[in-house]
Symmetry: C2
Subunit: 206 residues, 2 copies
């Protein structure tokens, strides 16, 4: 973020500030993740595209996952959050996840979620990266770690609930969900997410 | 929809075709629903804005609800569909609803849903009309008819699941959900929608 105090032309030729480096990395990451997918995009390639030292990725984002999260406007770093969420009873994982998502999004009044949705509606590349985020980075990995059957289907179903929750609470702002307190949202939504995570899907064909 | 054969200038001064009338009504409806909300917008006002006879609303849309659905790119008429969905066991309403949404959206390869989402992400007025659609026209009314407690909360929660399903199947196109057959989607999602419609929410504060 720019301070907004200086005019853009004055910045030319100055040494890159930390925030400039960070922004250049996010912009380069969006391009490279789009071109190569999550697994194909390397930290080195992104840093080269941004014209900065690869060590800056660790410095600013703690690694590739954090940079990816920033690129898709997800203000958490999955490699820090997921191990914490996985601690404790798997039967309460849905509850912990809803609480985590709502806590992070609420703190920004839904800004990050809205930015993500705006990108998805208008840019094909945002769709691609959200797809990878759901399958490779967050839900898919957690469900595989739980050892559940049909992990891809479960991950996609979790995506329906979490993205739909974000849409209603922050974008459509449908009452009483929009101004419900966090624990109300958790109690309302967690059992449904839990079915997708660990419930019996034996009635589901395929 | 225009035929695309004639150039726009040639159309000037010609008598309005049926399709032109329909399009003028949809455009006027979007404006008037935005300005006055669902209940405040009258058929007469919309017809006047479109410069057509109010009888054309019945002719083309079967009434205000059908026109509203067209304005929000929902290709069904709630006043026809809802009574059919309400027939039968309320404990299977979730199943019937998921089947109905997926059938309609699949027939258009998600086109109507994507148009709606694009509008929502970029135009505040689309948000307002979707909000009314969920609360006044579809879920809210069905849940009130069922006599369930907390109808507004239930309607909003149904919105999270249905909108999230549309996002994953048609916009993000997350596999295996995107190419799953209809009955797989129904079996996977219906129990979750059913909890929001008629399930026990006594653990939910508020």
């Amino acid at each position: 973020m720019s301070s907004g105090i200086e005019d853009a032309p004055k910045r030319r030729g100055r040494r890159r500030s930390g925030e400039d480096t960070r922004a250049a990395l996010v912009a380069a990451a969006r391009e490279v993740f789009t071109e190569h997918g999550y697994s194909g995009a390397t930290v080195r390639r992104i840093a080269t595209r941004a014209g900065v030292d690869p060590a800056m990725v660790n410095h600013w984002f703690g690694g590739k996952e954090g940079l990816f999260s920033a690129a898709v406007s997800i203000p958490v770093n999955p490699s820090e959050i997921i191990p914490k969420l996985m601690e404790g009873d798997p039967q309460h994982l849905g509850e912990r996840m809803v609480r985590q998502f709502v806590t992070v999004w609420d703190a920004q009044e839904g800004g990050a979620f809205m930015a993500l949705m705006r990108g998805i509606a208008t840019h094909e590349e945002s769709v691609r990266i959200l797809r990878e985020f759901i399958t490779s980075v967050v839900f898919g990995r957690m469900i595989k770690e739980l050892g559940m059957n049909r992990p891809e289907l479960r991950a996609a179903l979790c995506g329906t609930q979490i993205v739909g929750l974000g849409m209603m609470r922050y974008v459509v702002r449908l009452e009483p969900l929009a101004s419900a307190d966090r624990e109300t949202v958790v109690a309302a939504v967690a059992p449904n997410l839990q079915r997708y995570l660990t419930g019996d899907l034996s009635d589901v064909p395929g």
